[in-house]
């Protein structure tokens, strides 16, 4: 069991009286890209947000079951959600750079967690993260310009750079390309593929082509249930469940 980076067992999520996630079991391997697909409102984003306890900020949300990160239950009272989120980074649907300079956006996480001992180390982290996010060549001359002045695709890559700067072990991406044009999408997808070298990535997407292109494993959610979870190739070519098949061929969702 502990070979898996994250393993979720019998996870239930309730929003007030609404049972949003039912009996989900997923094992996420290290250094792979796992895609969550499914129609809108099926709970894939909700489940993603459970993995770094972002749902804690919503009062009425309740999570049951076990989610283990490296064999340790992240909902254990002894776990500090703030520490957890440093390990499990997140990139959101809409690019949300802080109203600060590009440099300060990337340096934000390392500064909070004391990852750099001095300015030189911090500069290195910023450069490395921006390079990894394929933004360095575009941004190196304007590091101190506001991050909100970048284009949408650049902003999203800035947010990815910001997330990798804290050296996470898992990166959660909630529809990272839905606000981007096809060119920016292609750049981000390429990036995701490279990030797989360093850590595991979980991506929620509405685009089945995207899931097929970037992921090794795919989970199909429907109405709060995990319907099928398998190798991406198998899901897209030979799904076991009829619901998966009809979603992939465009009949539901």
């Amino acid at each position: 069991m502990t070979d898996y980076k994250i393993s979720a067992k019998d996870v239930q999520v309730y929003y007030g009286d609404n049972h949003a996630i039912k009996d989900v079991n997923v094992d996420i391997e290290d250094k792979t890209v796992t895609a969550f697909i499914g129609p809108s409102g099926c709970g894939k984003s909700t489940f993603l947000r459970c993995l770094n306890r972002m749902n804690d900020t919503i009062d009425i949300c309740r999570v049951e079951g076990d989610i283990l990160l490296d064999g340790e239950d992240i909902y254990d009272p002894s776990v500090d959600p703030v520490q957890l989120r440093a390990k499990v980074g997140m990139v959101f649907q809409k690019p949300n750079p802080f109203p600060k300079s590009i440099y300060d956006n990337v340096a934000y996480g390392p500064k909070i967690h004391g990852l750099a001992r001095n300015k030189i180390e911090l500069d290195e982290i910023v450069e490395k993260s921006l390079r990894k996010a394929a933004l360095w060549t575009e941004a190196k001359d304007r590091l101190h310009a506001p991050g909100t002045g970048l284009s949408g695709g650049q902003q999203q890559r800035l947010c990815i750079a910001r997330a990798i700067a804290t050296a996470p072990e898992v990166l959660l991406m909630d529809e990272p390309c839905s606000a981007l044009d096809p060119i920016a999408t292609a750049q981000v997808e390429e990036l995701i593929d490279e990030l797989r070298q360093s850590f595991s990535v979980v991506i929620v997407t509405h685009s089945m082509q995207q899931a097929a292109r970037v992921s090794q494993k795919t989970a199909f959610f429907h109405l709060g249930n995990l319907v099928e979870f398998d190798e991406t190739d198998k899901i897209f070519t030979n799904p076991e469940d009829p619901r998966t098949e009809s979603y992939i061929s465009g009949r539901i969702g």
Binding site: N52, V82, A86, G89, F92, N96, P99, Y108, A163
Partner: protein, 490 residues
């Protein structure tokens, strides 16, 4: 009154007739009309109401001005030089004229007999006193003549006003009725009429502001004719004397603006941290239930009349501060001798401003997109790190705008200062000393027996004008900052 009633009645008739005429032009079939039948009626009613009401308003404003001018020409320049200003004489005459109206109404003297009244043979003052109209001094022949002329002019004026308004209303009625036809685009015309009505309402508000500014400007110019501007703006002593005219008074502006600024700064020192922290608590930490109770409670503070705050300063805060900082007080220092001091007024004013700062800042903090918070939490930041490093910087321009708006309220605040800060105009650095502000001095200069033509009273207008310009600049600056911030997320 009668005119207005008639015009309104005509409107009602016009509405019904317009509707009926439109229907009959389409031989009773609503679908053949260009617009709904109600629009034809509204068109007629508006065509009657808008021009005649406009004429009425213009006439009401213009008539007294024209009459005053005509009556004022009765006086020679010599009279004006001796007596008070011409506006005072005209005021006298108007009062006499109104008194004569009452006399006629009560049937003491017939309307015709008024014309032959003269000041030599009749004691007009007594006559007026009989019907309960008090006049300050004996009525001279000149004033009586003026009053008679005033009466006759306004009488004819009122008569023609009624005629003209009614005529215009009828003309509007006929014009609109003639246009009413099944192909007439009544709906579009009514739409235009609504636009004009709304525009008119907005214009009234703007014109009033212009009027206020103009009245201040003219009085300020009068003041600077009587008192040197340099002494006003750069004088360091404020010692008006009410015994003599001019000369003896020192009307230096600096001690007052110093007091205003000093007290405002004290109040901001109190209000900004408290207001800002409570805004952060309410918008970021408080649960919905706490927020539902606490926010209205804070906003009640804003609804307390400032005179009540003044009483609070005078009766509670002042003595409390004296018992802390005064002779034999809690801290064993003898800094404060009386309850009225800059710090008393400043701290109470600060309490008054808390809801102002907090509710504006709360709105601004709430306007910071949730995505910013998510982004920061997603990187493993704690709540206070997120607030300090992401939310406050994002909201800063708006918060600065809120503080500037609060500052301009502090500068304009009067009652708390009158009751809490004392009346001595001093250029002191000591917050435990009595001080006074521009607004408090405006009150004390105008609430006396002084006449409205000495520099000691007219200085109030110069003070008001200066204050107005300062707060205007602050407000414009604050709004500019707030607006600039808003554009960032839209």
């Amino acid at each position: 009154m009668l005119t207005i009633g008639l015009v309104l009645a005509l409107c009602a008739i016009g509405y019904m007739m317009g509707t009926r005429r439109a229907l009959s032009s389409a031989s009773g079939d609503q679908r053949l009309l260009h617009s709904l039948k109600g629009y034809y009626g509204q068109n007629v009613a508006l065509s009657i109401l808008v021009p005649s009401a406009t004429l009425l308003v213009v006439w009401l404003i213009a008539q007294p001005l024209l009459i005053n001018q005509s009556v004022a020409s009765l006086f020679s320049d010599q009279d004006l030089a001796e007596g008070a200003s011409s506006s005072l004489i005209i005021q006298d005459m108007r009062r006499v004229a109104n008194g004569l109206d009452v006399v006629v109404d009560q049937g003491l003297v017939s309307d015709d007999a008024i014309a032959s009244l003269d000041a030599e043979s009749t004691n007009v003052r007594e006559l007026l006193a009989d019907v309960g109209v008090a006049v300050g001094s004996d009525v001279t022949q000149q004033t009586l003549d003026g009053a008679k002329r005033y009466r006759s002019l306004s009488k004819t004026g009122n008569f023609w006003r009624g005629i003209a308004v009614l005529a215009l209303a009828l003309a509007g009625f006929v014009f609109a009725m003639q246009r009413t036809d099944k192909n007439f685009r009544a709906r579009n015309v009514v739409e235009r009429g609504v636009l004009i009505l709304l525009f008119g309402a907005a214009t009234v508000a703007v014109l009033t502001t212009v009027g206020i500014v103009l009245s201040l400007i003219f009085n300020t110019i009068n003041f600077f004719d009587a008192f040197p501007a340099a002494d006003f703006f750069f004088g360091t002593r404020w010692e008006p004397s009410f015994s003599g005219r001019g000369g003896a008074s020192d009307l230096g502006f600096l001690p007052l603006i110093w007091g205003t600024m000093y007290i405002s700064i004290i109040s901001l020192i109190v209000a900004v941290p408290l207001g800002l922290f409570s805004a952060i608590y309410l918008s970021e930490y408080a649960s919905d239930r706490v927020r539902a109770v606490a926010k209205p409670m804070l906003e009640i503070l804003a609804g307390i009349p400032t005179i009540v705050y003044g009483l609070f300063a005078l009766l509670t805060v002042g003595p409390l501060l004296v018992s802390a900082f005064g002779n034999g007080g809690f801290f064993g220092v003898n800094w404060m001798s009386g309850g009225t001091a800059a710090i008393t007024a400043g701290s109470v004013m600060g309490i008054m401003l808390i809801p102002f700062v907090s509710s504006l800042s709360d709105d601004i903090i709430n306007a910071v997109p949730q995505a910013m918070r998510d982004g920061s939490y997603g990187l493993g930041a704690t709540q206070s790190e997120t607030i300090r490093q992401v939310i406050l910087p994002a909201a800063l321009p708006g918060i600065v705008g809120a503080i500037l708006l609060a500052a301009s309220r502090a500068i304009g605040e009067t009652m708390i200062v009158v009751l809490g800060a004392g009346a001595a105009a001093s250029l002191s650095l000591n917050p435990f000393e009595a001080m006074t502000t521009v607004t408090a001095k405006i009150v004390s200069q105008l609430t006396g027996d002084g006449e409205f033509n000495s520099p000691e009273t007219m200085v109030a207008f110069a003070l008001g004008m200066t204050l107005f310009i300062i707060t205007l600049c602050l407000n414009v600056f604050a709004l500019y900052i707030v607006r600039k911030y808003r554009e960032q997320y839209d």
